[in-house]
């Protein structure tokens, strides 16, 4: 009898994560669980290790110790488990001389997405870039590149989404577009972890907030319990 493929739960489980740069621990015995349907905003000062944590989870950086599970898979033991992850980093990860459609086609082929042309057309439309698909990415504004990055990260329908400071450099219109998209993406069957230095605008969309401090998650609470943690509340007021 043919076995049905195992459906991986949209969860992130991190246990005892350690990452050092030049013997200095950036992440020090960090543990964190993001459950299916959670949208967690990761806050922390500059240099706290938010980017490092996201890059380790995306398997772009190797951890020195600890265990990371994305769904049922241990990262990074099985390369195929990377198809569960969608990552939007500081940089758009596009080839500037290629068009938007060509860049998406390249990624669709890397992820071996079926029905590539239709998927790309839908992604372009969903990113609000209809009419721009045949323009080189180098002609795009920061906001357009960010929308295309989001489309790229969603091409293969990942169950876990990782965002690293996605609002950086966006104007008000592009930021509102991202707000709306994140609101749509926050749904059961998906876990979202988003690092933000200034998270105020996300507190109405996100379900949880995690505070990265001294290499550990010092607080991880539902957004509506924020008032019960004065220290975190004060920090959020301070960063604005």
């Amino acid at each position: 009898m043919k076995r049905l493929p195992e459906i991986s739960p949209a969860e992130i489980n991190v246990r005892g994560l350690v990452k050092r740069y030049h013997y200095r621990p950036v992440l020090n015995d960090l543990s964190l669980t993001i459950n299916d349907g959670d949208f967690c905003v990761l806050v922390g000062a500059n240099g706290a290790g938010k980017t490092t944590l996201l890059r380790v989870l995306a398997s772009l950086v190797r951890a020195d110790a600890g265990e990371i599970r994305i769904g049922n898979e241990i990262i990074p033991s099985n390369p195929r488990s990377r198809s569960n992850i969608g990552y939007v980093g500081h940089q758009p990860m596009f080839y500037q001389d290629l068009t938007a459609a060509e860049n998406l086609r390249h990624y669709a082929r890397l992820y071996q997405v079926k029905g590539t042309d239709q998927t790309i057309a839908e992604s372009i439309q969903s990113a609000g870039l209809t009419g721009h698909q045949d323009k080189p990415v180098r002609t795009f504004s920061r906001g357009m590149q960010q929308r295309l990055s989001l489309a790229r990260a969603l091409l293969h329908q990942p169950i876990v989404l990782l965002f690293d400071e996605p609002y950086t450099g966006l104007d008000q219109e592009a930021a509102r577009f991202l707000d709306a998209k994140l609101g749509e993406l926050h749904s059961p069957g998906r876990a979202i972890l988003l690092a933000a230095h200034r998270p105020q605008r996300l507190l109405t969309i996100a379900s949880h907030i995690a505070w990265l401090k001294d290499g550990k998650i010092s607080q991880h609470i539902p957004v509506d319990s924020l008032s019960q943690v004065p220290e975190l509340n004060a920090y959020l007021q301070e960063v604005g």
Binding site: R62, R82, S83, L98
Partner: protein, 227 residues
């Protein structure tokens, strides 16, 4: 899908993407070609060699110009992936990361071979040697394959360094010495009318280099790229 087929498809996609980027930007092959032609012209006029000497030196000069051109191509290949962190996009692909090594090294080989194909007739004209010799083709292909495999490995190693532009040639030229010596000796034997059998030992060294550097890419590329 068969995992091997999946792996092959990723290699092919990286090659296809590199060709597409090169076709759009035309920033790699034309620069490599102009640079290698300049090397040929400069050596020809600067050394003012007699025809006899030219024949003896042709193989060496050919490989010097190919090595310089290939190094330029390797630098371009690295900077392409660094631009907008496109390398991260490749690293996120759900396949063993050695596929990136094979994709990149084969596209580097393809571009350097294109340069060699244009260079050979021009070189023949300047140095009075018939380089359009069929026996030379496998030697050039093997030599370039070994050189670009090693170069891709070292380019990945230098990608994180601040001094990557100068680091690559500094690392590459000394380590590529066995490849260049074997390629020059094998080419010289063929160009001086010798048979492939006479250059067999040099060709075997080139083949060993191809196997060694591709095996190193297969085993260590992921470790090299990970921070």
């Amino acid at each position: 899908m068969n995992p091997f087929l999946r792996y092959l498809k990723i290699i092919l996609q990286i090659i296809r993407k590199d060709i597409q980027v090169e076709w759009r930007g035309r920033q790699g092959v034309p620069v490599m070609l102009v640079f290698s032609l300049l090397v040929v012209f400069l050596f020809n006029f600067a050394l003012q060699l007699s025809p006899d000497l030219q024949a003896g030196l042709a193989a060496g000069l050919l490989w010097v110009s190919l090595a310089f051109a290939s190094t330029l191509g390797l630098n371009r290949s690295v900077s392409l992936e660094r631009e907008s962190s496109a390398l991260d996009g490749l690293l996120l692909a759900p396949a063993d990361r050695s596929a990136i090594f094979f994709g990149k090294s084969l596209s580097n080989l393809l571009f350097t071979t294109l340069v060699a194909l244009v260079l050979l007739p021009i070189f023949s004209l300047f140095y009075g040697q018939n380089l359009l010799n069929l026996s030379l083709i496998p030697i050039i292909l093997l030599g370039l394959w070994a050189y670009t495999s090693l170069g891709t490995l070292l380019a990945a190693l230098s990608i994180q360094a601040r001094t990557r532009d100068v680091l690559l040639p500094v690392l590459l030229y000394p380590l590529a010495l066995p490849i260049l010596i074997a390629a020059v000796e094998a080419s010289r034997t063929v160009l001086s009318g010798g048979t492939m059998e006479e250059s067999r030992s040099w060709i075997l060294i080139l083949l060993a280099c191809v196997i060694l550097f591709n095996a190193a890419g297969l085993m260590f590329f992921e470790t090299i790229l990970e921070e």
